[in-house]
């Protein structure tokens, strides 16, 4: 079974600084997708960024980028120029390409200090 591990229960960053959230996963599949979701106190899960396993290039979305290391099964999220609105729980998630089930990590609570 696939597992997703987020080893940092909590992280903090100063406003305007950069922070990296870690995620590792375990799979024997070659076709899969990886996601980072943000969950603010409103509880609404918001997709931050996605990565297709077959793509070698790391995905980027404005201030958010990933470091996808397929051989190491690592998928970290880098947030640049952190803003107060970035404070939230961040979940790493995995989905097999031919399947629909998302497998989530336990999350990392990010605090942004002014």
């Amino acid at each position: 079974a696939q597992t997703v591990t987020q080893s940092q229960p909590e992280m903090s960053v100063q406003e305007a600084e950069t922070v990296t959230l870690s995620c590792t996963y375990d799979t024997s599949e070659s076709d899969y997708y990886l996601f980072w979701y943000k969950q603010p106190p409103s509880r609404q899960m918001i997709l931050v960024i996605r990565q297709e396993a077959y793509k070698q290039q790391n995905a980027t979305e404005n201030r958010f980028s990933v470091n996808f290391q397929k051989a190491a099964k690592s998928f970290s999220l880098k947030i640049s120029d952190s803003q107060l609105g970035d404070a939230a729980m961040y979940f790493c998630a995995y989905r097999r390409g031919s399947n629909y089930k998302l497998t989530f990590g336990k999350g990392t609570l990010l605090t942004v200090n002014p």
């Binding site: 997703v4 997708y33 979701y37 409103s42 509880r43 609404q44 899960m45 918001i46 997709l47 996605r50 297709e52 979940f91 998630a93 390409g97 031919s98 629909y100 089930k101 998302l102 497998t103 989530f104 990590g105 336990k106 999350g107």
Partner: protein, 115 residues
């Protein structure tokens, strides 16, 4: 257009009572998912609906849990004889398709508290 909506936002119930949670997916989305999020945990898959196909109920934790979906619209998750361990946030999501990189759009969830 409107996003995924869920009702009620919060529900407090007594142990042993039945509860019904509702999810309105985004119009046109054929796939619908229910997840459970316990305090301090990630999301656990419960059930999946895709069009008129038989739902995947493999994530339902016990036979006290059931869900229905009418066509490609509203879904209800029912928990019978609630227990304290059922206390959690129940999240619904929908997507245009269920394969590939299609994004799952989440609702705000229903926070269920069983006393």
């Amino acid at each position: 257009g409107a996003g995924v909506s869920q009702s009620p936002s919060n529900k407090v119930t007594e142990k042993g009572k039945d509860v019904e949670l509702r999810c309105d997916p985004i119009s046109g989305h054929t796939a619908l998912y229910w997840y459970r999020q316990r305090l301090g945990q990630g999301l656990e898959f419960l059930i999946y609906f895709q069009g008129n196909s038989a739902p995947d109920k493999s994530g339902l934790p016990s036979d006290r849990f059931s869900a229905e979906r009418t066509g490609e619209s509203v879904s209800t998750l029912t928990i019978q004889r609630t227990q304290q361990e059922d206390s959690a946030v129940y999240l619904c999501a929908s997507s245009l398709e269920s394969r590939g990189s299609y994004e799952q759009y989440f609702g705000p969830g229903t926070r269920l508290t069983v006393t």
